[in-house]
């Protein structure tokens, strides 16, 4: 005990050591290996060897531009949709939920408790050409007679939106929940109508949550391949599908690794631009 007390400075490091060592070995080292792999060349039969093969990157960028763009586009769209759906919802819970808040919140994370694949399969059932959603929409003439939902980009985006919505909703909820009610009263006291009070006070104050939510939604969405695979067609395949197939089907590991890195950088760029646009200072305020 005395030892612990005397060496108080060491305590944080002792606490960090096991976890950080684990992350270092199983996150940083793999990243290094991935980087290494991405610069290898060769083929499955003769083996892949490290050779500064930057062409893997040029290849990745040029050949799969469409999928990259589509991934960013779908992820962006899904993020936007998730935001539009979840913001009013969590706003309602945070400000109208009263005693039931925690219970209502439970409904938001409910999808998490049904295995990812199962809920995506449920979407398949729901959106099936003979399913009731399509039939209803067709009866209402919102969808052409020969129209379909499954195997369209609509389905893929809807699936992605659905699967990552809780990631958007929870941080926004947290930031809304933390807003001091008196600030809204103060705004109304200063002649802001409810709408203005929302626009000028509530919304700006919830931006940190929106920021966190968009990142937590956008990042996994951009790398997803399940939704495109189960709900889409070749026209909807995303970069995640390509990486997946390079790893598991074509066994072209260097190319797959290069694609992974390009994906990470693309996400990083989008995130940085986004942070810049939103203004990082406002976020901390």
């Amino acid at each position: 005990m005395i030892f612990l007390h005397r060496h108080r400075w060491a305590t944080p490091y002792l606490l960090l050591l096991p976890g950080m060592a684990f992350l270092a070995v199983f996150f940083l080292v793999p990243t290094y290996y991935l980087a290494n792999t991405s610069l290898q060349s060769g083929d499955l039969f003769s083996g892949y060897v490290f050779s500064w093969a930057w062409e893997n990157y040029t290849d990745a960028v040029t050949r799969y531009q469409a999928q990259f763009l589509r991934s960013l586009q779908y992820a962006g769209l899904a993020t936007l949709l998730a935001f539009l759906i979840s913001y009013p919802l969590v706003y309602w819970i945070a400000f109208r939920g009263g005693r039931w808040k925690n219970l209502l919140l439970l409904f938001i994370i409910a999808p998490f408790f049904v295995t990812y694949l199962i809920r995506t399969l449920a979407w398949q059932t729901l959106l099936g050409d003979e399913g009731f959603v399509v039939q209803t929409l067709q009866t209402l003439h919102l969808l052409a007679e020969d129209g379909r939902l499954l195997a369209t980009s609509t389905a893929v985006v809807a699936g992605i939106t659905y699967n990552f919505l809780p990631f958007m909703a929870l941080p926004i909820y947290v930031s809304l929940e933390q807003i001091d009610q008196r600030l809204i009263e103060a705004a109304e006291d200063l002649y802001a109508s409810r709408v203005m009070a929302f626009l000028r006070v509530t919304f700006p104050l919830s931006l940190p949550g929106v920021f966190a939510g968009t990142l937590l939604t956008f990042i996994p969405a951009a790398g997803d391949f399940i939704n495109a695979q189960l709900l889409g067609t070749p026209h909807q395949s995303m970069i995640g599908n390509v990486i997946q197939s390079k790893f598991k089907v074509i066994a072209d590991y260097p190319e797959a690794a290069a694609l992974s890195f390009v994906l990470m950088s693309a996400i990083l760029v989008v995130v940085l631009v986004y942070a810049r646009v939103l203004g990082s200072e406002r976020l901390t305020g």
């Binding site: 083996g47 490290f50 398949q124 599908n241 390079k246 074509i250 066994a251």
Partner: protein, 360 residues
């Protein structure tokens, strides 16, 4: 690899190196495709019979959903010469060829498989394993067209129709297995899939690409077309013969045909991966090459049986099945189907072209 990693598929330590000990192991681990062996309730009669006869327990794993996927999963371990804890795995011709080429499999103990004599003649000498030193067919199958007349309104009998008939737009699926899809398309263009010419392949790719671009083809599937038919999402598709019975139970009225321009035939082969117990595996191979056992499996699986004499045995169990040309194809049927060029099937260039069409 040294100097900082990388994965490579250097030839494994397998091959025919070690002496085979003639002693049965306690357990046989058998990796197979789903729904590819006889089943009664929750028991598997032929496997139980094997256990009863030899005392070897069978651990049956339905883990092969896709050749590539299975290969991808174990490639790393196999390339390092590691045991993957599988005594038998069933893979399609071209993948079996790849496994052998990479040295990821062991030679059978032929002395333990006298029943190999029952192997149908047509399958005895594939180019990639001329003496069947490593492999033994499990089942063969045909690739053709399945369609649901309820929706299509009439028969769909050609690949041409499948890929261009606007009535079917968006309700057609093709297979992610390149040899199947490309084999059918190439035949539709009058090309020969047994010996793939790059130009013919490219032209078939173009045709397929057009069908994808026009929205005719909804998506590419493994045997998950099985669920698209009953859901009504798919009206006509490239499908495998053995699934017809299956499809018909979920989608009454479903029809299956060999396309006018010709279908494909393929074989799934039993292999003994590195680390597998050769003697036990060989003993099991011998067991299933007993026509009686083969017939029993066939009665449930409905693919094409590679075992001579099984037809007769099956006739004793279910005469109507024995007459089914999809299970015991007659000469006429066999004349309509071709085997895809095994080398082309594993050609990275061609594969990438095909992958590009299917979107990845």
């Amino acid at each position: 690899g040294g100097g900082g990693g990388g994965i490579s598929a250097q030839t494994g330590a397998g091959g025919a190196s070690t002496e085979v000990k003639q002693q049965l192991a306690d357990t046989l681990v058998f990796a197979n495709w789903p729904a590819y062996i006889d089943k009664k309730g929750s028991s598997r009669p032929t496997l139980e019979k094997f256990t009863a006869e030899t005392g070897v327990n069978v651990k049956y794993i339905q883990e092969v959903n896709d050749n590539e996927e299975w290969f991808g999963k174990y490639q790393a371990q196999l390339s390092q010469g590691q045991d993957v804890d599988r005594d038998i795995v069933v893979l399609t011709d071209w993948m079996a060829a790849r496994m052998i080429r990479l040295g990821y499999v062991q030679k059978k103990d032929k002395s333990a498989i006298p029943n190999e004599a029952n192997l149908v003649e047509a399958l005895q000498n594939p180019a990639w394993d001329p003496n069947r030193d490593y492999s033994l067919p499990w089942q063969s199958g045909l690739t053709g067209i399945g369609y649901n007349p309820k929706f299509t309104g009439g028969p769909v009998t050609s690949v041409e129709q499948l890929l261009t008939d606007s009535k079917l737009k968006g309700k057609v699926t093709c297979l992610t297995e390149m040899p199947d899809t490309m084999g059918l398309v190439m035949q539709a263009q009058g090309a020969d899939p047994t010996k793939v010419e790059p130009a013919a392949f490219d032209s078939a790719i173009d045709m397929l690409q057009q069908a994808v671009d026009s929205g005719q083809i909804r998506r590419f599937t493994g045997n998950d077309y099985l669920q698209d038919f009953p859901a009504g999402s798919t009206w006509a598709a490239m499908t495998w013969s053995g699934d017809v019975a299956q499809l018909q139970s979920d989608t009454p009225g479903l029809e299956w045909v060999i396309p006018d321009d010709g279908g494909m035939i393929w074989t799934d082969n039993m292999l003994i991966p590195t680390g597998g117990d050769v003697f036990t595996a060989s003993t099991y191979m011998n067991f299933v090459y007993d026509p009686k056992v083969a017939a029993e499996i066939e009665a449930w699986v409905n693919y094409i049986c590679p075992v001579e004499g099984a037809k007769e045995e099956l006739a004793k169990i279910d005469p109507s099945l024995a007459k089914n040309p999809q299970i015991f194809p007659d000469e006429e049927t066999l004349a309509q189907v071709k085997l895809f060029d095994a080398e082309a099937a594993d050609n990275t260039d061609l594969k990438e072209k095909f992958q590009a069409v299917i979107g990845v």
